[in-house]
């Protein structure tokens, strides 16, 4: 890895770059929120951030620890009730990009945040759907950001919480799902995008210092590699500084580091009152 820049930082910056200025973005908590706010603070000052708890046009100075933090309400253009968010703004067709995290995804970018194992007798009970099923189906397109590992990138999901491209091809359209679905999966190793026809994810971007073999090992299926594989640009100094400032402000405000690393499993490290919050199971809300 390039000295001085972490894999999480490269992932967050790569995800933020995908968000164009002026986009209306429905933001999940954790990594999506970090990336979306970094975009707002750098190249996309007019991006509109909507959180499911009700804030529309939130401009938080520090990252929210939970989806309903007061900072989101105080900096928003308006705060509406949660039913209105889902009925008028999402179902009403006003969201350009749904920005989601996930515990697990499969080769068609379907998302699991519900259980590992069987539903009735789960080996791990995850937090559940939250807003994701309807965000994934009704935003015009969806970005998914999560760390890449064989436990997270699985051949067969134990449970499909939110639809990606279902079983591929035109399955989404046939099911009557309005949005285009996941168009990018951003990880700490690279960027995966769906094939235009089969909709199977392929590695189209790789982060500096990462090998293709490393990405394949971190994927639970035989990952296709794009013939046009590109290498992600390193974050420029200004963007990196903006991200680190945001994280430092957030840590100071919360008295702890933000939930910027949602993982697939419950935290296992000992927690002290001054300790760092580990990743939430899907890390998204509350």
């Amino acid at each position: 890895m390039t000295p001085g820049v972490t894999a999480t930082e490269i992932m967050t910056v790569a995800a933020s770059r995908l968000l164009k200025d002026g986009t209306v973005c429905f933001v999940g908590i954790g990594l999506p929120s970090a990336a979306a706010n970094l975009a707002r603070l750098t190249h996309a000052p007019e991006v509109v951030l909507i959180y499911e708890s009700g804030p529309i046009g939130a401009k938080p100075a520090v990252l929210p620890l939970s989806i309903g933090d007061g900072e989101l309400a105080l900096t928003a253009d308006t705060v509406v009730g949660t039913p209105e968010i889902f009925r008028y703004w999402l179902q009403g067709g006003r969201i350009d990009v749904g920005f989601l995290g996930a515990a697990q995804i499969d080769r068609f970018a379907n998302i699991n945040t519900t259980v590992i194992g069987s539903y009735d007798e789960p080996s791990v009970r995850l937090p559940g759907a939250g807003g994701a099923p309807e965000i994934a189906s009704q935003a015009k397109e969806v970005f998914i950001v999560l760390k890449q590992s064989p436990k997270a990138f699985v051949a067969t999901l134990p449970f499909v919480t939110s639809a990606g491209h279902l079983d591929g091809g035109d399955a989404r359209a046939r099911a009557g799902i309005p949005g285009a679905g996941p168009t990018a999966v951003i990880t700490d190793l690279g960027i995966l995008t769906p094939d235009p026809v089969s909709r199977e994810l392929a590695l189209t971007g790789i982060h500096p210092g990462v090998t293709v073999e490393q990405v394949k090992r971190a994927t639970g299926w035989d990952l296709k590699i794009s013939p046009d594989l590109t290498t992600t640009d390193l974050p420029d100094a200004a963007t990196l500084a903006a991200l680190r400032d945001l994280q430092a402000r957030t840590a100071a405000a919360h008295g702890t580091a933000p939930d910027s690393t949602p993982g697939t499993t419950p935290i296992t490290t000992p927690i002290t009152t001054q300790g760092r919050a580990g990743g939430g199971a899907s890390g998204r809300e509350g």
Partner: protein, 287 residues
């Protein structure tokens, strides 16, 4: 007309064993004090409804108050799992917990339908998700006008809804602001009525015309409980105590630590002010 009454009396007269109860709050204004009072009064066999069950439902489940939970996202926000909830689902401790699981859009629409007196909610949702396979209360119908296939779920009609708000006036009219979640809908969906705990009772709400005011006559009880949302927050009054959410993870991990903690902080205290006093003591001991 909502009676301004102590929380203990409101819970005693309105919440019964076997009830469906919604204690709503979306990070903000979570009615922790009311949840503790339900635990102290030993209610059993409750169906707990909430979009985002967090620590207070973890406590109620771990203390055996609940037979079922209806929800759409259950976790300790920014920290991790609800260990008591997981123990109940994964190991049946202290008793089996049935779950009925939705998406946020489904639950939000179901509260709107409940407040509207409708039997069901309709939405464009759940398509491609496995949730309808495990929840028979998610079904699909064809729109009689367009033919579009839409998701249908039963409305949420709690027996009692409990929420927390910033202020009430002496007539029991309640003002809340900031992140509102589904609290208004949940309060109006309740069959027997809504209990609202408030930070303070004032002479005049000074609410602008379009503010979120719940008229006193539409509520069952209004209970002054300053700090009653702690460790959640009340905008304009106090901030979320993120340290408590982080510390809860360690308490809730073991059955024994959980039981000891609940006995000392909740069962052996008289009310929320007592809880806050004992919590301050135990935090000083831990420091």
């Amino acid at each position: 007309m909502a009676k301004i009454t102590p929380l203990r009396e409101a819970v005693a007269s309105l919440v019964r064993d076997g009830d469906t109860v919604a204690l709503e709050g979306f990070t903000h204004l979570i009615p922790h004090a009311a949840g503790h009072e339900i635990i102290r009064q030993g209610r059993r066999d409750l169906t707990l409804v909430r979009m985002t069950p967090d620590l207070i439902y973890d406590q109620m489940i771990g203390m055996g108050c609940a037979a079922k939970m209806v929800f759409s996202w259950g976790g300790n926000p920014g920290v991790g799992s609800l260990h008591r909830f997981r123990d109940a689902v994964e190991q049946g401790w202290p008793r089996d917990l049935a779950i009925e699981e939705h998406s946020h859009a489904g639950m939000a629409n179901a509260y709107v339908a409940g407040a509207s007196g409708l039997p069901l909610a309709l939405l464009r949702g759940y398509t491609g998700s496995d949730l309808p396979k495990v929840n028979p209360n998610i079904r699909f119908i064809d729109c009689p006008f367009s033919g579009e296939r839409l998701a249908a779920i039963p409305s949420v009609r709690p027996d009692v809804t409990v929420i927390h708000a910033q202020k009430a006036d002496r007539r029991g009219n309640v003002l809340l602001w900031g992140i509102l979640g589904v609290q208004k809908e949940a309060a109006l969906a309740a069959r027997r009525g809504a209990i609202v705990t408030v930070e303070e009772v004032v002479e005049d709400l000074q609410a602008p015309p379009n503010a979120c005011v719940l008229p006193g006559w539409a509520l069952a009880a209004v209970c002054p409980v300053p700090g009653g949302a702690y460790p959640s927050y009340a905008q304009g009054y106090y901030e979320r105590d993120n340290r408590f959410y982080i510390a809860w993870d360690r308490v809730a991990r073991s059955r024994e630590a959980f039981r000891d903690w609940m006995r000392r902080h909740v069962l052996d205290t008289d009310d929320f002010a007592g809880f806050r006093r004992v919590l301050a003591e135990s935090m000083r001991e831990a420091a």
